[in-house]
């Protein structure tokens, strides 16, 4: 089947998310849609899937114009989608999930689970998935859950399969396996649209690459192009993806975590006997697939995690038992994972956000009276220093792009005297230009002799930024290795296999 998008335009108010976008996907081809976060990739696919109605343009299947008023129409026409966030019910079995929405029935309206099981077995045998139709989905590994999603799409007889950022939640091994599955599907004649911003994956599987930037197609690229060339197309200017940094000159180990364990509200152990040290002037990256205890580790350091046991020492001071304010006062800079949720007050101005953690002390407050002129001077200085692109210091944080929001958070955290910097996924969802800037700032902080702890979920960032890498799996440190460790070894460690 051939899918064609012709002149698709989608507007939200004054913003044009898709501007006259053309795209053709052929059966037996993997078509990559490459673009930065916010470039309009997901909007385009939601138009295709019937979730949004286009303001202009047509969708054509085998050269016939089709109209989708909802996902049901799209599925019936043979378009399947594997979502970034799985649309599965964790307490159902694989077979139950797969038939959800078009349940086969026997005589008398009884659910025909047996035929569903048979179908799951048949499809999974065809692709070598080894899926047990009776397994509970919630018990399966993330990569396996994704296969359930794929089977769900295939059983609906999808001729066009859309993968929306499918590798975000996978380990490197699982990613490799997914690439194999895509190639297999291609052999079987399925048209695949693969949405991503990860250049390595594109180069591995793509037959055709379309680059989208700010809602417009900027051109097609050859799969043999270099990563830097692709990135430049994506961003619209020359970029250098490598982090430039001199070799670390580690000083003494001022930050020590020993025997740290933590439990969540349900009483489950989320951190299990964590031991690590970070030297002054060194970046330690915590690598691992999301949800393996990284968030809890940073929360424990910052004083926000309730039940902890063990020791976290900074310059000889015990952090466990201290509240957030006391920890920050010891010179800990913290860049949270979710900047809009935990890092910024969206309705506050840039200036107000810059003093969020110091609003009750000098120089920003005298007694309880805010010193707005001091704040104004400070904010204007930081605006320049951190190249925050905004109308001025009175712009609201919500009006800024993700990159500029992150710069505000960094400006606040780095403008104190630091004895430790903790940054959780500091470049998540940022454009390439901002990623460069954030990396530069982190390296500069290291070079000032500050111990730095970074949480990274992408291996590229971990190996480029880190001086050493600690891999976490299910709340444990699997091992701490130098940053030039091969990807395959790191990937195995992320899956819990220690070398």
């Amino acid at each position: 089947m051939k899918l064609e998008l012709r002149g698709i335009t989608k507007r939200f108010g004054a913003m044009t998310a898709n501007d006259n976008v053309n795209l053709v996907a052929q059966g037996g081809q993997i078509h990559c849609l490459l673009g930065e976060n916010g470039a309009g990739k997901s909007t385009l696919m939601n138009v295709l899937y019937g979730l949004y109605q286009a303001d202009g343009g047509d969708i054509l299947l085998d050269d016939r114009v089709v109209k989708f008023s909802g996902p049901g129409d799209a599925m019936a026409a043979g378009i399947g989608m594997v979502h970034q966030h799985f649309m599965l019910i964790p307490v159902f079995t694989v077979a139950e999930n797969v038939i959800l929405g078009h349940e086969p029935t026997k005589f008398g309206g009884l659910l025909d689970l047996e035929s569903a099981r048979a179908k799951v077995r048949e499809v999974s045998a065809r692709f070598g998935f080894e899926l047990d139709p009776d397994a509970i989905v919630g018990d399966l590994a993330v990569g396996v859950q994704q296969r359930v999603e794929i089977i769900k799409a295939l059983i609906g007889d999808a001729k066009v399969l859309v993968f929306d950022e499918p590798t975000a939640v996978l380990t490197p091994q699982e990613t490799d396996e997914l690439m194999q599955i895509m190639k297999q599907l291609r052999e079987q004649g399925t048209a695949i649209v693969f949405i991503t911003h990860k250049l390595r994956e594109v180069k591995e599987v793509a037959d055709k690459i379309t680059v989208i930037r700010l809602g417009k197609i900027v051109g097609e690229a050859d799969p043999s192009s270099s990563a830097n060339e692709l990135a430049s197309m994506m961003v619209g200017r020359a970029v250098d993806l490598d982090v430039e940094k001199a070799p670390a000159k580690p000083g003494s180990a001022t930050f020590k975590v020993a025997g740290l364990s933590a439990w969540n509200h349900a009483g489950t152990k989320v951190l299990d006997d964590i031991n690590l040290e970070i030297h002054q002037g060194e970046i330690l990256v915590i690598a691992g697939v999301q949800g393996n205890g990284q968030t809890e580790l940073t929360e424990a350091i910052i004083g926000m995690h309730g039940k902890t046991h063990g020791s976290i020492e900074l310059n000889g001071q015990q952090l466990i038992g201290k509240n957030v304010k006391q920890v920050l006062d010891l010179g800990v800079g913290f860049v949270p994972e979710d900047r809009t949720e935990d890092g910024l007050v969206a309705e506050f101005t840039i200036a107000e956000n810059l003093m969020l953690d110091r609003s009750d002390r000098k120089p920003f407050a005298k007694g309880i009276s805010l010193q707005l002129d001091v704040l104004k001077k400070f904010a204007e200085e930081k605006l320049k220093q951190f190249d925050i692109r905004a109308q001025g210091i009175s712009s609201k944080a919500s009006e800024l792009s993700g990159g500029n929001q992150q710069k505000v958070v960094l400006a606040r955290e780095l403008s104190r005297e630091l004895s430790l910097l903790v940054a959780s996924q500091p470049t998540r969802g940022l454009d390439v230009g901002s990623i460069e800037f954030v990396h530069e700032q982190i390296v500069a902080t290291r070079d000032r002799g500050v111990p730095v702890l970074i949480v990274a979920t992408e291996l590229d960032e971990a190996t480029q930024l880190g001086d050493r890498i600690a891999v976490m799996y299910r709340g444990k440190i699997v091992g701490i290795v130098p940053s030039d460790t091969p990807r395959s070894v790191l990937g195995q460690m992320m899956a819990g296999i220690s070398s």
């Binding site: 108010g13 509240n323 309705e347 506050f348 407050a365 009276s369």
Partner: protein, 384 residues
């Protein structure tokens, strides 16, 4: 739900003004419907349509003219005192409503939906009243102590809610609503015990507050408006400064907009909950003192009237901005003062004013509510 509340409180100035105008129009329709002359004229509408429209005009204009005369300036009376008395009545009514509205605005801005103003006003009145009735001191000591006692009473009763929220996570909406009952029943009971009941009295009423604890009158004996009004104006300025220029107010607002970010920035959430409710309760407590030490002078179960609930509307109408709350408070004071004249001179029931007040709330709150109920997207920011 919090999101809906946020949207309700962020109605634009234009929306708010239109809501008030639309409510008065709607009130006018009701007045016309209920008017006998209009009903009679409607009977021969096709014979003499002009009569019908004249009757409508007379009834609506008559009612709103009476409202104006009762709330602002009564040009039909003789003598300057009688003519300007209405505006002073408006200011007297506006004083407790605005003070309490300020308190609620502080809580709403900090993300706490304090519905407990009635109870907090009663606590303020009880504390201030007890001091005002039972102590015998010179004015310069007695009056400040009585006012401060009332402020502390309201603050403590509010802070307790903040404390429960901080330690147990109890929802402040439910707790404050239940606390209103506690305050009302406690007041009713104390008014039947020697603690507050006047010696020898049969009814639940206290003795009069001594003169040395009263708010001095502003314009002499002929007018009820007292220095509590000046206190209210000072409170408007103070609350504005507190929210916008003080570090504690900044932390309050940070908590209101994004508690997660506030927590991550090292702000002590639990302590701030207690402080917010203390400040909010203190302002309602102050409203209670203007009632007991200013307008009413005796403590009865009706001391808080409906001011605590009016204050919610006033905070909503004033968009949680102290100056807006002042304007809305005076509008509501005027409605209350004018309603009496409207009923006396035109026979329009006082309830019409209640309808207008309620319509204002509906017109402001309804669009976000309707959108939330039907899960429609807000006009702005349709993009994800």
């Amino acid at each position: 739900m919090n999101k809906v509340m946020k949207e309700i409180f962020s109605a634009s100035t234009l929306n708010t003004v239109l809501a008030v105008v639309a409510s008065f129009v709607f009130g006018g329709v009701l007045i016309a419907f209920a008017n006998e002359n209009v009903q009679v004229a409607a009977g021969y509408l096709f014979a003499r349509p002009a009569d019908f429209f004249m009757a409508i005009w007379n009834s609506v204009f008559g009612a709103y003219d009476a409202l104006f005369r009762g709330a602002v300036f009564n040009y039909k009376l003789d003598g300057i005192v009688a003519m300007v008395k209405p505006i002073t009545e408006t200011l007297a009514y506006a004083t407790p409503i605005t003070l309490s509205g300020l308190g609620l605005a502080v809580a709403f801005r900090s993300g706490l939906f304090n519905i407990g103003a009635p109870g907090q006003i009663m606590f303020g009145a009880m504390f201030a009243g007890w001091i005002g009735i039972n102590l015998d001191l010179p004015f310069y000591i007695h009056f400040p102590i009585a006012v401060i006692a009332g402020v502390i009473g309201g603050a403590l009763f509010g802070a307790l809610v903040g404390f429960l929220r901080a330690t147990t996570g109890a929802n402040e909406v439910i707790v404050t609503i239940m606390f209103n009952y506690i305050a009302a029943l406690l007041l009713g009971w104390l008014l039947k015990t020697p603690v507050l009941q006047a010696p020898g009295a049969v009814n639940p009423i206290s003795a009069a507050v001594s003169d040395s604890a009263k708010y001095p009158l502003l314009f002499g004996e002929q007018f009820r408006v007292h220095t509590g009004f000046v206190m209210m104006l000072l409170a408007v300025v103070a609350v504005w400064w507190f929210l916008n220029r003080s570090s504690i107010g900044f932390q309050f607002r940070a908590l209101g907009h994004n508690p997660n970010a506030a927590k991550t920035a090292g702000i002590n959430i639990g302590l701030t909950f207690v402080l917010v409710m203390a400040v909010s309760g203190a302002l309602s407590g102050l409203a209670g003192t203007t009632q007991i030490l200013g307008t009413e002078k005796f403590l009865t179960t009706g001391v808080a009237a409906s001011y605590g609930f009016d204050a919610i509307t006033v905070a909503l109408l004033g968009r949680n901005n102290p100056w807006g709350v002042l304007v809305a408070g005076i509008l509501f004071g005027g409605l209350r003062a004018g309603a009496v004249t409207m009923q006396a001179s035109q026979g329009v029931p006082i309830d019409i004013v209640l309808v207008v007040q309620s319509m204002i709330v509906l017109f402001i709150a309804a669009p976000p509510l309707v959108r939330a109920m039907f899960r429609l997207k807000a006009q702005k920011g349709g993009a994800q």
